[in-house]
């Protein structure tokens, strides 16, 4: 049989309050000047018992907060501080805050994080050594999150299975449900699956069970209390109803709040961009980062675990002059964002450590400072690299087309329209090839299977389609077999494992796992005019 550790909680809290009393009276008794070692030792041992007990029961806040007081006491004991009025006041307010914290934990009520953080900061300012406190600030955040998860409980789901003799013992179901209704919004669903045929039915027996949903900010204990009188006559399971929105948002909030302990999220990033590296367009980079960050912030909207990040795709020379830019939304998995968030938090931690060091600078800290700066630089580079990796992915909105059993993808940005062609709209010019009458102009028809030297399935222009594309103010009609879907595509270059191919800007993996080559409209036009270009191996200069 396992021991219910919570039975020991009361004893622990009782001991804690005794310890706090001891601490308080000893601190009161301290005389100004050098600290009385014996008195300090008594305070330390009392604080230790609180901390150790807290660790045993995993009251992390309590153990962390008493740890802070212990660190301070340790500094006093080793003679780094003289006892002053300010110091005793600080210690007393620390003890008081610890008492309040213990009461909150004991009664399971709201913890005043702001106050605790305030006291903690006062200790920090008073103390000589301070680096390890970073740990503490994180634990405050983590604890806060836990309590937010508790906030996410929006009610209780109760599976209520009364025994067959439930009504024989005089239990009143209506009264029971009525009491529940007083707590919050109650939905009752009856389950009559076990109801026997009428002739087998024992009139005084119960065959029913109920599924109750109780919504509202209700303590579980209150619900249990109501069922206490009927406890022995039923089977009961109570499960919390969690607001799924909150649950998922919490994760994101955790990331954001990890980023935010110092209040200045965006600035350090901008500093990075300014300080380092040859970026072609720093201003643009910064907006990108800001965009990303601002995407992280709206708490209510991040239900989808994949976070959409707006990516301004860059338009290279081969695309039209019509639109200078397009906004494509790419999907970045949360773990990538997590990684980024982790990097940022490390960056912020290092930065704050350095600034703390700077405040109480002494020459012997110099090596540490140098290490810290090197660390900062490494972190900065990491962040920058990973942002650049996201930035670098050339994403296009693509139209998938089919030509002679092969799929290709055309950047949507160069597509004007797709048409079925009537033979009467065609004009044939000897030596010039085919022209298609589009409104009041004639555009050359490029048969893709020809420029790509594929074995055609369709050669009759009326059976296929033409895609009107534009490049450099010039329109051409690409003759294709069929149009397939549209999709966003990450274009990978062929040069990584092979070489560049004329007419093709890269390759993308379609949703079905197959590869489609992406068509470079400008190069296809060039290829159409001069087929010998196909023989030229394309060089790597265009590759990213």
């Amino acid at each position: 049989m396992s021991i219910d550790i919570s039975q020991l909680h009361d004893a622990y809290f009782e001991e804690c309050f005794e310890c706090l009393d001891v601490m308080e009276s000893e601190i009161f008794g301290l005389e100004l000047g050098m600290a009385d070692k014996k008195a300090i030792d008594t305070v330390v041992s009392a604080a230790h018992s609180i901390k150790n007990g807290a660790s045993t029961f995993s009251f992390k806040m309590v153990s962390d907060f008493s740890y802070i007081i212990l660190m301070m006491l340790d500094e006093i004991r080793t003679g780094q501080h003289e006892v002053t009025e300010a110091l005793t006041n600080l210690l007393l307010s620390g003890v008081e805050a610890l008492r309040e914290l213990l009461i909150s934990v004991h009664k399971n009520s709201e913890i005043d994080y702001v106050h605790l953080a305030d006291i903690r900061q006062q200790f920090e300012m008073m103390m000589v050594g301070d680096i390890e406190l970073e740990l503490f600030s994180e634990s405050i955040i983590d604890n806060k999150l836990e309590s937010e998860v508790n906030d996410a409980i929006v009610g209780w789901e109760i599976d209520f299975h009364p025994n067959s003799h439930f009504f024989k013992t005089g239990n009143d179901l209506v009264q029971l449900f009525g009491e529940l209704e007083n707590l919050g919004e109650l939905t009752v669903e009856v389950c009559d699956d076990n109801l026997p045929p009428l002739f087998d039915l024992e009139p005084e027996d119960n065959y029913l069970s109920w599924k109750l949903t109780l919504c509202g900010n209700i303590a579980k204990a209150d619900v249990v209390e109501i069922f206490k009188p009927v406890e022995s006559d039923c089977k009961l399971t109570i499960t919390p109803l969690i607001d799924s929105t909150i649950k998922q948002v919490t994760r994101v909030e955790q990331m954001v709040s990890k980023l935010e302990p110092h209040g200045e999220l965006i600035n350090p990033i901008i500093d990075i961009e300014d300080a380092t590296a040859p970026i072609d367009n720093p201003e643009k980079q910064v907006t990108r980062v800001e965009q990303m960050v601002s995407k992280l912030e709206p708490h209510g909207e991040l239900i989808n675990p994949i976070i959409g990040i707006e990516e301004k795709t860059e338009i290279t020379s081969q695309t039209t002059t019509l639109s200078e830019s397009t906004v494509a939304s790419i999907q970045i998995e949360t773990d990538k964002i997590d990684l980024l968030a982790d990097m940022f938090s490390e960056l912020v931690a290092t930065q704050s450590m350095l600034s703390q060091m700077g405040e109480n600078f002494s020459p012997e800290m110099l090596p540490k400072l140098i290490d810290g700066l090197a660390q900062l630089e490494r972190n900065t580079n990491e962040v920058q690299e990973s942002i650049m990796q996201i930035r670098k992915l050339p994403i296009i909105d693509g139209q998938i087309i089919r030509v002679a059993n092969e799929n290709y993808i055309i950047p949507l940005i160069s597509v004007i329209e797709t048409l079925e062609v009537k033979g009467t709209d065609m004009k044939y010019v000897s030596g010039e090839g085919e022209l298609y009458k589009l409104a009041d102009e004639y555009v050359p028809v490029i048969r893709l299977y020809k420029v790509f030297n594929l074995k055609p399935n369709i050669t009759d222009i009326e059976q296929g389609l033409v895609v009107i594309v534009e490049n450099d103010n010039q329109k051409v009609a690409l003759f294709i077999d069929d149009l397939l879907g549209q999709q966003k595509a990450v274009i990978k270059n062929l040069e990584t494992n092979y070489r560049g191919v004329f007419g093709v800007s890269g390759a993308t993996i379609l949703n079905d796992g197959m590869i489609a080559l992406s068509i470079d409209v400008a190069e296809v036009i060039a290829l159409y005019r001069d087929p010998s270009l196909a023989k030229m191996a394309k060089h790597n200069d265009r590759a990213a």
């Binding site: 007419g503 390759a507 590869i515 196909a534």
Partner: protein, 165 residues
């Protein structure tokens, strides 16, 4: 030699490796047997649909999706001027790590994969001028077997960017 090839004789292999033997993967094209350093093999997989690359030599079968990267595929039969053979699910693709200016992945299409052999450096003989269709530049040596001969390919040359055309 035979005793060295005792199948799956793990201890023997360990011993051979200590003595300086290297493992080679052998495969067949028609009646000919070829070998390549086994450490260069990234993956062996069955034939899968590939995407054709326009305006490339016929032995460039296309590109295939290998865990998200775009890997070109070379049909060694066609590369060596042999007759083409229909691709089927039993056709084998060996994906290799090719070293050049950069490390690249290139797949080769072969008829069958045979076995892994321990070969001591002194057993590899220089390649005579064969006068065959195969450019001897691509063969780094010959190893004679019982009644056959294994040609060891220099894949870095054979599959270099320039040689792939």
């Amino acid at each position: 030699m035979t005793e060295l090839f005792a199948d799956n004789d793990y201890l023997q292999r360990m011993h051979n490796a200590e003595q300086g033997a290297e493992q080679y993967l052998s495969f067949s094209l028609g009646d000919e047997e070829y070998g390549l350093e086994i450490l260069r093999v990234q993956e062996i997989k069955a034939w899968d649909r590939v995407t054709h690359i326009p305006n490339t030599p016929d032995y460039i079968v296309g590109v295939l999706n290998l865990h998200g990267s775009i890997v070109p595929l070379v049909d060694l039969r066609l590369r060596f001027g042999m007759s083409a053979r229909e691709y089927s699910p039993t056709t084998v693709i060996i994906v290799l790590n090719v070293l050049g200016e950069t490390k690249r992945n290139v797949g080769i299409v072969v008829d069958t994969v045979n076995d892994a052999y321990d070969v001591f450096p002194e057993e590899i003989r220089a390649c005579p001028q064969l006068g065959s269709t195969i450019d001897t530049d691509f063969i780094s040596g010959l190893v004679s077997m019982d009644d056959n001969m294994m040609m060891i390919l220099n894949i870095d040359r054979l599959l270099s960017v320039e040689a792939l055309g």
